[in-house]
């Protein structure tokens, strides 16, 4: 359980002075805390004996003043430094995670769902951060502070009284511990119910057109009401346990007070104790309530922190699948791309996703890739993006195996337009500039024109400065694709990769964009995958993929003559006339 503090050793090491000072001052403050009640007791004794004098009074008031001022700064300082460490840890870990995410390749993201990774970057981070501040505080409060109170009770007042008055404490601690576990279980159930409610609402909202079209509003409300009732019941289920904490503490401390008063009365009449000491003792009892709870908190915080840190660490320790070689070969411009007998299988896949791929593409050529959904078109492109290590066969650029080149070098040549149009929540300008950070106004203008986005831009409220994504306007699929194309074109890359990236624009726009690309990119390499054969007709080479294999290849004319899948598909699309 306390492993978590050991595992965070690197952090404590880094800030050891800060932590040493904070913890030391916290201990001093804890000890200082037991003095005022003691003095109160003495004053009461003096008062009841009628022995109070002006000088004595000033003396006491003076000491109190010193404790007040000293204590204030002491408390301020340790609190500030200790919790500063906690938020610093949170910041540091968050940065580490982000840097790690930026390094990870798709294999990592296939194994870890976004939701899980986000949970690590948020909830887990909070739990870990809690250990470094609140955790340490409760650790000291439940041990040293508790110790200080017990010692003060014993040494300054009476060990016997302390023993009897503290008897209910361990029983209370066990109860609280047990209830804590129960509450946690029930709380998780309540959270699950809430999660289900959340999913349900998401479906109602995302499917709002269906619900309205089929007039299901009222029935949907009824279903929602039922689920909200379940959430209510689960919450109340938790409440029933939660409600016990206060009363149990009340009875526990009540018994302690009764012991203190009853046994105290005996001791006072015996002359073993004064009334002032009894007051002091009872104030101590009041002070001891928090440390009892602190034990429970401590166990919680440390357990959760430990589990969370393990999860965070697991993410941080993941090694990127694609590593750069130690001695990379430098290449100026890619003149020839060659695949030889390349095989590939996704880590999560049962079958080979690419089999025996061989082809050669010269600078300036256009390669078209067609085939059914799931035939391996995108997988083929991903080899060039170096998203996975190559297992068998080779991918060669300018005669050099891609594995002997740095990932950065290869990616610098490539302009990539993915299948699912990913735009970031920023302005359209910033999204296009993602392709080339320092592009000039003219370059932006040109990219937009080539991507056929000019007219759309006029209709957007703020033109280029329109915010898109979560916080801004939502663009249509076709618009997103074209921004995504502009983003790749602005880079004027040596190799342009279009992964079925015109599926949401109509046939006419598509043919215009393709024409633009052909014209602008003479002398540069382009790779296009598509479902619409019209977009690859002009290509120098076309391959047909099926189940990861090249089944047909050649130019458009050659493929038509082969009378295979390509011809069949071509005829079909011809009959249907594409989209209008």
């Amino acid at each position: 359980m306390f492993d978590v503090l050991g595992k965070l050793g690197w952090f404590f090491q880094q800030y050891k002075k800060q932590y040493a000072v904070a913890v030391f001052l916290l201990i001093i403050a804890s000890v200082l805390d037991v003095i005022p009640p003691y003095m109160l007791g003495s004053v009461i004794d003096i008062l009841t004996a009628g022995e109070m004098t002006a000088s004595l009074l000033f003396q006491y008031a003076g000491i109190f003043l010193i404790i007040i001022i000293g204590g204030y700064f002491l408390n301020f300082y340790w609190q500030y430094r200790l919790f500063e460490g906690a938020i610093n840890l949170e910041r540091t870990l968050r940065r580490k995670l982000m840097l790690q995410f930026l390094k990870m390749t798709p294999a990592f993201y296939e194994k870890n769902r976004t939701g899980d990774l986000m949970a690590r970057a948020t909830n887990d981070l909070n739990s870990v951060s809690l250990t470094a501040g609140f955790g340490i505080m409760t650790l000291i409060d439940s041990t040293l502070y508790m110790g200080a109170i017990i010692f003060a009770m014993g040494f300054m007042i009476s060990w016997k009284l302390t023993f009897f008055a503290m008897l209910p404490v361990p029983i209370m601690a066990v109860f609280i511990q047990y209830l804590g576990k129960l509450v946690h279980e029930r709380y998780m159930q309540a959270q699950d119910a809430f999660g289900e409610l959340n999913d349900r609402v998401l479906e109602s909202i995302a499917g709002v057109r269906v619900i309205r079209a089929y007039v299901q509003e009222k029935k949907d409300e009824v279903r929602f009401a039922e689920m909200s009732e379940t959430v209510y019941e689960k919450n109340m289920h938790t409440v029933k346990i939660n409600a016990l904490f206060g009363p149990i503490t009340k009875i526990g401390t009540g018994i302690s007070y009764i012991v203190a008063l009853g046994y105290g009365a005996v001791l006072i009449t015996n002359g073993e104790m004064t009334v002032g000491q009894l007051v002091t003792f009872n104030v101590y009892l009041g002070l001891a309530v928090w440390p009892i709870f602190a034990i429970g908190e401590l166990i919680n915080v440390m357990q959760q922190g430990n589990a969370s840190l393990d999860r965070v660490q697991e993410t941080l320790d993941y090694e990127a699948d694609v590593q750069n070689t130690e001695k990379p070969v430098l290449i100026g411009t890619p003149k020839e791309i060659g695949f030889s007998e390349l095989n590939f299988q996704y880590p999560s896949s049962q079958v080979e996703n690419l089999k025996q791929i061989s082809l050669s593409l010269k600078k300036g050529e256009t390669l078209g890739i067609v085939g059914k959904t799931g035939a391996g078109k995108t997988t083929f492109l991903r080899q060039l993006l170096r998203e996975y290590p190559i297992e068998a066969g080779q991918l060669i650029i300018n005669g050099v195996d891609i594995a002997s080149q740095t990932k950065e070098q290869v990616l610098d040549w490539i302009g990539y337009v993915p299948q699912d149009h990913v735009l970031f929540s920023r302005t359209i300008r910033e999204n296009i500039l993602f392709g080339k950070e320092d592009a000039s106004e003219e370059e932006i203008e040109k990219a937009i024109q080539l991507a056929y986005f000019k007219k759309d831009l006029e209709n957007l409220p703020m033109g280029l400065e329109t915010l898109v994504g979560e916080k801004g306007v939502s663009l249509s699929g076709g618009q997103k694709q074209r921004v995504s194309i502009a983003r790749a074109l602005i880079k004027d890359p040596e190799i342009l990769i279009l992964d079925d990236s015109l599926s949401a624009v109509d046939a006419k726009t598509e043919s215009n964009i393709i024409k633009n690309i052909q014209k602008e990119r003479s002398g540069k390499t382009t790779i296009i995958t598509t479902h619409r054969l019209s977009s690859v007709q002009h290509a120098d080479q076309i391959i047909v993929l099926d189940e990861g294999q090249v089944t047909e290849s050649g130019t458009h004319e050659e493929l038509l003559q082969q009378n295979g899948w390509y011809k069949e598909q071509f005829d079909r699309q011809q009959l249907e006339g594409g989209e209008s």
Binding site: F224, G246, A265, N282, S580
Partner: protein
């Protein structure tokens, strides 16, 4: 009305449990505060040196125990009732906002991402729940406790109690000042962390792009800026907290004790009045109790801010004008649709449809043809009354559609969307939408009629096969067929079909073509057409361009006319055929 007031008003909808809770709370405070009085009595009367009188002490201590148990029971009941009330209030609020969202016009959903709307209904109301269950119950407990302590102090010694009262305005002032600063810092921290998390989320989803364009450094830079700013505000808040919250309460408590010593000390020296040991004991006890509630209140401030922000957002939604969901029904209409000089703009005078007139007779199929943005989807939106025309009228069987409630009109309409939406449940429940009027036999029949049984046959549980996460385990063809079956099961008089563009394998394609034929039979059908075969088969083709009907007629008529349609047809044929001429 301020958010706080409105939330209070909501709370009053469940008066009973809340009042019961407050009643038990008051009882608990009284039984609790009686304790020190008993202690005082024991100390003053029975703690005399050398003379022990066990019996009365035992009696008094038994009373003390009973009072403690009483307090415990009252507190338990108080907690239960207050929580019950709070949870009920939030449930009501949740149902209200969910119901209200159902009445909002469709543009609300078009303009906001689904996640945000969901957050209003669930997360924001959850934050409000925390307000009621944590913040308000803590406030109530604290205020009643403090009031109780003051009553006790006045009973003990009114002069000293008067001095203690002076603390109240000071603490109040401090709370206001603290809240002002803390709420500003908390606000920044909240929005920053939301931004950071949104960025991490987005980065994970767009990682392929970030890496392909090698923008890791730029992202790191932007991330660092946000992370550092978040940290710096966290530190500011921490500084404020360390300087003021718990620490300051502790200091004020010690100051009170100092005043206590000085007051009774000077009294003792001047010999004005003799104060009993028991009174002193009780005083110390009460003063200690005075400060715990204050700490509790201070600790709730950040949650209070969060809840108020959430409450504001919830009321914003509730304040939007919705249109009541009507439960009126009408007999099935024939499905004769007339558009008469319809113009429509989503915003201002930016017309996306201009002076559209056409009619579709009962049982006809109308194909809408045009480029993206030509107005095809807007016609669908109007027909379904997701939106209403800016000018002109739409009639169904001669009745102006705006004269009917939206729901009544839609009762006899069906829709198949391009990307069919499936709900979590089973295939059967997705066909029937759990509507009791769709029988099991009907579900089966519909699935069969559209040919879905063939495509679904290799699913283990057939139509009881579970559907998860929008049907992600099903192919797009399967999803399409399920949504066809859904439309068929509801047997609409008017059917609206947004043909899917996505590529489906040839076999499924044929099944879908067949399904469309089945579906169209006997109803007026509008198709946003993408396939030439669909267009050719239509009884009427509307060629749209920038919101205007350029041509209308059958395939042959339009070809013969030699207009845009003919050009479009030829251009596509040409672009597809290239240099190959097919006869």
């Amino acid at each position: 009305m301020s958010t706080g007031k409105r939330l209070t008003k909501y709370a009053l909808t469940y008066k009973r449990p809340i009042l019961m809770g407050l009643l038990f709370l008051t009882a608990a405070v009284f039984t609790d505060l009686a304790g020190p009085f008993i202690a005082k009595h024991i100390i003053d009367e029975y703690m005399v040196l050398g003379k022990i009188d066990i019996k009365p002490i035992a009696w008094l201590l038994s009373l003390y125990l009973i009072l403690s148990i009483g307090t415990a029971v009252f507190r338990y009941l108080m907690f239960l009732f207050l929580q019950m009330g709070a949870n009920r209030v939030v449930q009501r609020l949740r149902k209200d906002i969910f119901g209200h969202v159902q009445t909002l016009p469709i543009q609300y959903f078009d303009h906001l991402p689904a996640g945000k709307i969901v957050a209003r209904v669930t997360n924001d109301t959850e934050a409000i729940r925390n307000l009621y269950v944590q913040v308000l119950s803590n406030f109530a407990t604290s205020f009643i406790s403090i009031a109780g302590v003051y009553v006790a102090l006045f009973i003990l010694n009114w002069k000293m109690a008067l001095i203690a009262v002076f603390m109240v305005p000071i603490i109040y002032l401090w709370m206001i000042l603290y809240r002002r600063f803390a709420s500003r810092y908390n606000g920044v921290i909240r929005t920053k962390i939301a931004d950071i998390n949104a960025m991490i989320n987005e980065s994970i989803q767009g990682m392929a792009i970030i890496q392909a364009f090698r923008r890791e450094r730029q992202m790191t830079r932007e991330f660092d800026d946000m992370n550092e700013e978040h940290y710096s505000y966290q530190r500011k808040l921490l500084f404020l907290d360390s300087a003021t919250s718990f620490n300051l309460v502790n200091t004020i408590r010690l100051i009170m004790f100092t005043i206590f010593i000085l007051y009774f000390g000077t009294q003792s020296i001047s010999g004005a009045a003799v104060v009993s040991a028991g009174t002193l004991y009780a005083f110390v006890d009460y003063l200690t109790r005075l400060f715990n509630p204050i700490t509790n209140v201070v600790n709730q401030f950040s949650q209070l801010e969060r809840s108020l922000v959430a409450g504001h957002r919830v009321f914003e939604v509730l304040d939007m004008t919705g249109e009541k969901v009507s439960e009126e029904t009408m007999p099935r209409y024939e499905g004769h649709v007339v558009f008469e000089n319809v113009s429509f703009a989503y915003k201002g005078t930016d017309y996306v449809l201009k002076d559209i007139s056409f009619q579709a007779k009962r049982g006809e199929t109308v194909a809408l043809v045009g480029h993206t943005g030509s107005g095809k989807s807007s016609i669908m939106n109007l027909l379904f009354r997701f939106y209403d025309p800016s000018k002109g009228k739409i009639y169904i069987d001669g009745t102006d559609v705006t004269a009917l409630p939206r729901q009544t009109l839609r009762e006899h309409m069906g829709i198949v969307l391009q990307d069919p939406y499936l709900f979590t449940g089973t295939i059967a429940s997705n066909v029937s939408l759990n509507d009791p009027k769709i029988t099991h036999a009907k579900i089966e029949g519909s699935l069969k009629a559209v040919g879905a049984d063939r495509v679904l046959k290799n699913l283990e549980k057939g139509m009881e096969e579970p559907v998860i996460e929008k049907g992600s385990t099903l192919s797009s063809g399967q999803r399409q067929l399920i949504s066809f079956a859904r439309a068929l099961a509801f047997d609409p008089a008017i059917l609206i079909l947004d043909e899917a563009t996505s590529n489906i394998d040839t076999e499924t394609e044929e099944v879908i073509q067949h399904a469309m034929e089945v579906l169209k039979k006997g109803r007026t059908t509008f198709v946003i057409a993408h396939r030439l075969s669909t267009i050719k088969n239509a009884d009427r083709i509307l060629v749209l361009e920038r919101g205007v009907i350029k041509e209308q007629g059958t395939h042959e008529e339009l070809l013969a006319k030699g207009g845009i349609y003919q050009q479009m047809y030829q251009m596509q044929a040409k672009s597809l055929l290239g240099q190959h001429v097919v006869g």
